[in-house]
């Protein structure tokens, strides 16, 4: 690594000011697990690191009118073990539990993970299925971006220069709704997924048919992707093996995975179909349970 300036702002505005000062060559630092790694590999060489861990309140996790608000500096482990998240969005706690190892989860932050925009990460897939919105702070104040519009390319987001991820807002599940996240790890328990799939399914009042579904897939392209075609197929249908197979095939067609050590493009496409089906089935079962509770 090579030397850089180091700043420890106490407020978001100070942080944004430092980022402005160095422009392109400055990078926000939260957990640093991804950033320091790329610096050690000498792939990036920022002139200034702005450590936002000291910004007061940026690590809060709280519930307000139907959404769980997670601060950018909350660590993966904070979310995984948060009583609030485990009560209101167990699927999210479970998803963060799947990320790397406890050592990494103790340090890596929610905001950092989003800004890093690695399509092989776990959390964005679940957040996408849950309809999360990213809270972005910039010189012009705060704006909200639907996660669907946040990731633009491999390691690239719609964050403008000088902008920061301040947090993420995740709507809690509505009535008769269930969600599930699955990570396919065929090699070893500590790895990126070969594919990941998350689904959120809402059933009709009778708890029989799918009223709405949000499905997201990871590791199958340059960004996490919504499986819109599959979502449409499910709407209004009862759960059958054929339906899940059809939904899987519908998604499979639209995918353009990057083949890597975790599977060829062809295999990832096939597995995306399988795990989409499995995730929907699991989410559906939870939706049924919640429908039963509400009745």
């Amino acid at each position: 690594m090579i030397p850089f300036e180091y700043r420890t702002p106490r407020t978001l505005d100070q942080a944004l000011a430092h980022l402005r000062e160095f422009g392109e060559d400055a990078r926000p630092l939260a957990g640093g697990t991804a950033l320091v790694l790329m610096m050690r590999q000498r792939l990036i060489r920022p002139a200034c690191l702005v450590n936002i861990r000291g910004v007061a309140g940026l690590d809060r996790i709280e519930h307000a009118n139907g959404t769980v608000e997670i601060g950018a500096c909350a660590t993966h482990r904070d979310v995984e073990t948060s009583a609030l998240v485990r009560a209101r969005l167990p699927v999210l706690a479970d998803t963060y539990h799947h990320v790397g190892t406890i050592r990494i989860r103790n340090v890596a932050t929610v905001g950092g993970g989003l800004a890093h925009a690695d399509p092989n990460q776990d959390a964005p897939v679940t957040l996408l299925a849950l309809g999360a919105r990213v809270r972005v702070r910039g010189p012009q104040g705060e704006r909200q971006v639907a996660l669907d519009d946040f990731f633009t390319d491999y390691y690239q987001t719609s964050l403008a220069a000088g902008e920061l991820v301040a947090g993420v807002s995740v709507p809690v599940l509505g009535p008769r709704t269930g969600a599930a996240f699955l990570k396919f790890l065929p090699r070893t328990a500590d790895d990126y997924g070969t594919v990941t799939a998350a689904a959120s399914v809402t059933l009709d009042a009778a708890g029989e048919r799918c009223e709405a579904a949000r499905i997201a897939l990871g590791c199958v392209g340059t960004t996490p992707v919504r499986a819109a075609a599959a979502e449409d197929l499910l709407r209004g249908q009862r759960l059958t093996d054929d339906l899940l197979r059809a939904a899987g095939d519908a998604a499979n067609g639209g995918l353009d995975p990057i083949g890597d050590h975790r599977g060829s493009a062809a295999y990832k496409r096939e597995m995306a179909a399988v795990f989409l089906g499995r995730a929907v089935r699991a989410a559906w079962a939870r939706a049924r349970a919640s429908a039963a509770d509400t009745r």
């Binding site: 990078r27 000498r42 792939l43 060489r45 390319d153 491999y154 690239q156």
Partner: protein
């Protein structure tokens, strides 16, 4: 890695050929090319910038026309460039063939052998392949635009 791009351009072979052999002009069609100037017989010197997420690569080097046979409608370009900051570089040999595609149209096939070296190469071949593919597609598209404009 070998990358193959084929596209049909609504221009006769002659016109496309002359365009392709004008390296400074044609290189403007490759997104990221910031500078190309002659540096001797069939050789050009230039700067090419490409972003891989947070990683910005600045490649300086040479492009040489290794082979051009107007008779056979074949040409081979060789590019050799390095990024001192990152420590690494790339070598590419692009074989272009022009085939008639009906009235006033030509099918351009670009077959590129790309080798990515050093640190850049370590970043991940699959992603580099994807990126290179995308760039070449834009390249072909831009050539089409330039010639139909």
């Amino acid at each position: 890695m070998t990358l193959t791009q084929t596209c049909t351009i609504p221009a006769p072979r002659e016109r496309l050929w002359d365009f392709l052999m004008d390296v400074p002009r044609v290189s403007k069609c490759l997104p990221g090319v910031e500078r190309v100037e002659p540096a001797g017989e069939n050789t050009y010197q230039g700067l090419f910038r490409v972003r891989l997420g947070p990683i910005s690569i600045g490649l300086t080097g040479n492009v040489t026309i290794e082979e051009q046979s107007r008779e056979g409608w074949r040409a081979t370009l060789r590019a050799d460039a390095t990024d001192r900051k990152l420590g690494g570089g790339m070598r590419a040999r692009a074989r272009m063939t022009l085939d008639p595609a009906g009235e006033g149209a030509t099918t351009l096939t670009v077959e590129t052998d790309l080798t990515v070296l050093g640190k850049i190469g370590e970043f991940g071949q699959p992603i580099i392949r994807k990126k290179a593919d995308a760039l070449l597609q834009e390249f072909a598209q831009n050539i089409r635009n330039a010639l139909t404009a």
